[in-house]
Amino acid sequence: MNDLRFAFRQLVKNPGFTAVAVLTLALGIGANTAIFSVINGVLLKPLPYPAPNQLVALWERSPERGIERERVSGPNYLDWRAQNTVFSEMAVTPGWEGSESFNLVLQDTTAKVRAGYTSARLFTTLGTKPLLGRTLLPEEDQKGGNPATVLSYGLWQRLFAGDSNVIGQTLTVDTYGRRQYTIVGVMPPGFGVPSLCELWLPLGWLGVTLEEQRSAHWHNVIARLKPGATIAQARAEMNAIQARLKQAYPGETIGSEVAVAPLLHQALGRGLRTALWVLWGVVAAVLLIACANVANLMLARAAAREREIALRLALGARRRRVMRQLLAESIVLALLGGALGALLGWWGLRLVVAANPANIPRLNEVTLDLTVLGFTLGISVLAGVLFGLAPAWHCSSPELNEALKEGTRAVSSGRAAGRTRDALVVAEVALSVVLLAGAGLMLQSFARMLRADRGFQPEQLLTAELDFSVSGFTTWVLPTATRPQVPLRELLERLRALPGVQAVGAGSRLLRRENGPPNESIAIFGRSTLRPEEQPRAEFKGITPDWVRALGGRVERGRDLTEADRLEAPGAVLINETLARRYFPNEDPIGQRIKMGASQPPVGATNVWGLPEWSTIVGVVRDVKSLHPQPEAVPEVYQSYWQWPMQNPTLLIRTTTEPTMLAQAVRRETKGVIPNLPPPVVRTMDDLLSETVAEPRLQTGLVSVFAGLALLLAAVGLYGVLAYTVTQRTHEIGVRLALGAQKRNLLSLVIGHGMRLALAGLAVGLLSALALTRALRSLLYGVKPADPLTFAAVSLLLLAIALIACWLPARRAAKLDPLAALRYE
């Protein structure tokens, strides 16, 4: 208690020192608090289900085909479920693009909701009982079963204000058919994570049974391990099952392996996990720099207290006791810094959560809970010990006799303490170089992402997503003369006629959002049937004639699709350069025939819709890459939209003016042509691209801010050490001046000392950065972790800042009055 009381007294007596130290620590601790809250809430907190570490996600993979992750086919899922011995439960939810956004018909409007068809086993797999009513039943998985539905807690609150009489009421869902579902249950808060699903519909109404299409990889599978079973065991068993399936069904596309991963990890993705851990490393480095700064402050202060310490030892204190007292002061300081840091961390966390531009799962639930506060307390104490240890050690054993003599200044610990101070500054500089290098690489990478040539021109491009899934339109098979594309044609004409519109096209899908190999196998006429893993694959898309022009792409060879490529005409397709290069390397693809699927029917054969199986390649277009932050091109086939049986087109409108100015007109024309369609989702391509880089933008922004803070702290640390050295050497400087030293001699004395420290720190930092920036490899685009340009820029920046930090105390030294300096004690 005495130690604590004395510690407080010391801090109050030195308000300037206390304020600087507390603020420095608060910045470091606050940053750690904020980032740890995110890591705790997003990565570490278990999922809100019983025995969450038993929950895993499964998917198929074929590394020999370059496919790391592929959804599961229905028949494969059924065989997995029947043959495994490691899982107590297994469930399936469809996962193709567009399978998670449904239209809810409310009284006078239609609302979008995140929903999904699911097997009844989802609820038993996750192990959660409903809050009200019941969950789906296994018989409701059968085709034509009871149209029941289960609500999430959030949806129940929003639509029914938490009314407990909701069971038995109906909801109308209008997606690929309008249907009423009876509400049978409501789930408790938190159920559903990590997915964002709010409404669960029975699998029986999916329209496709699980027994169909072994080569169609549509489904997400989750499972619960049996007690005692490990992921490694599960993986081994599932791989054996998969090998048997491949042997049993040689003509089907079946992944060669089964990947099994913890459910949460799979949902977050490796990129996000890596980014969060990197961020934590960054803020830990910032805290270390802050501790080094405060340690230097305390060393300087401790030197001034050497006489007091010597006296305490002379009065009988053991060294341990003195160190305890000094550490008590450090810890009190650190706790004050921690309290302010918790406040700063809470504020910073609120900003990040409010933004959540990257839609990071569970981020909205992140708060400063007891775990985080405990962490803050822990690192505050640790910081206190860290920065207090060196000063406590150094000044708890002064040369007693010398320290107690009148007229002597602290000398005994001076040299050792000076070396410690210098070492701390070198360490700070080294750490800030590592952070700057990381930030520089990420900034370069992000800039390249923004400038990435995706094969089209994003400026002055407006997109409008139309939802044809609502009733009044046919399902996505069987194109007919009266299918929705007819009013679509009229809509396109009206949009083309708008002032400021240069070109308008429609496509079955905008652009891929994820990288990864294409899913659809293709056949090239005349080439022998290959094994499934050797089968060519491509992405298929239906586009109207002006799509390429509207996108700003280019037909490199042959011709574009035209209005003549209608339903009745022979099949016509465009292919991209990547497909041409890969599958027609030594021949002209124009005139070749190509089809979806691996089979090789004769020319003239028709598919189930009565359309020709084979289409002729009429043109080769420039590659258009994905919307992924690190865009890649894959083989693509563009079929004429009028020959393509699909729904939900996306319009592309190239404008001569600011595209947002036409948004209202697009909505108006759409309503005019197709009145009962939900309003289209209109966004500019620039906004879409901005969304896709939201996560890298957030990561880069945070790393840059912390790196900047680290540099500032290191510069302040360097300045502090030099300023203190100038004060300590005032008498010496006076002697030098009296002996004829010029201003430049004094400047070089001080700046030389400082720059030597900076150069030493830079050297250590660069070597460390070379080793550590490898951890960023997966986050970088177009930049190597050892990019020489970045390292050179970081070195120059650091030396420039260091020079400024050295200049100020050097200038003070050069301005000293020799007489005053000689009298200085």
Binding site: F6, Q10, E308, L315, G316
Partner: protein, 221 residues
């Protein structure tokens, strides 16, 4: 109580060795009041620091209450110092951030005396030295004489057998100095062995005998 035999202290310089003390041999009996005198640089304060076991860089034999100090390591010497020695400095050396009471409490706290006992001893000392009314003041609020009074109280609060005083009145005016010397006399009469360093003949007269040093040598015992 104290026996020194050929105690020497020197510094190594570029020119050779520079001696601070040369072949110091002396005996101090328990209960004596000894004064060490000599010109500046004679080695008086150094001899006092050796007697107080603060200075370890010396050679020779030093017996303290039959204990061979010269064979003990610094830690063991510190234990002896804590048990038997009190020191009064010329500059008072009170802890500026502690009150008078807390300054008195500190040596007891370092000797692991229980809190309740410490409180009693401090109260006793405040009473004995008539400074009860100043117990919550800080050193900067006291006069030089009052500070030295507190310093003396602090030096004897743990009841040392030996009290060492280095120029105890050096920073005081004559009346204050006289008060301090009268106090030393009383303490000595009560049984405390006192060794003081002083330039003042008046102060030296309070003691039983004078030891003179010159250039590190013992001149007269």
């Amino acid at each position: 109580m104290i026996q020194l035999r050929n105690v020497e202290k020197c510094f190594k310089t570029r020119a050779g060795f520079s001696y601070v003390l040369r072949q110091i041999t002396l005996d101090i009996a328990e209960g004596e009041f000894i004064t060490i005198m000599g010109p500046s640089g004679a080695g008086k304060s150094t001899l006092l620091a050796i007697l107080g076991m603060y200075d370890h860089a010396w050679e020779g034999e030093f017996l303290f209450s039959e204990q061979p100090v010269h064979q003990l390591n610094p830690k063991q010497r510190a234990v002896l110092n804590k048990r038997f020695v009190g020191f009064v400095f010329q500059q008072f050396h009170l802890l500026d951030d502690l009150t008078v009471a807390e300054n008195l409490d500190i040596p007891l706290s370092y000797r692991d005396v229980k809190r309740s006992e410490r409180q009693a001893l401090v109260a006793d000392a405040l009473d004995r030295f008539n400074i009860v009314g100043k117990k919550d003041l800080f050193p900067s609020q006291l006069s030089g004489g009052q500070q030295q009074l507190v310093a003396v109280a602090r030096a004897i609060i743990a009841k040392p057998k030996l009290l060492l005083a280095d120029e105890p009145t050096g920073n005081l005016h004559s009346e204050q100095g006289r008060d301090i010397m009268e106090l030393f006399k009383k303490l000595n009469q009560a049984g405390t062995t006192i060794v003081q360093v002083t330039h003042s003949e008046t102060n030296a007269a309070y003691g039983h005998r004078i030891i003179k040093l010159k250039d590190g040598w013992l001149v007269k015992e």
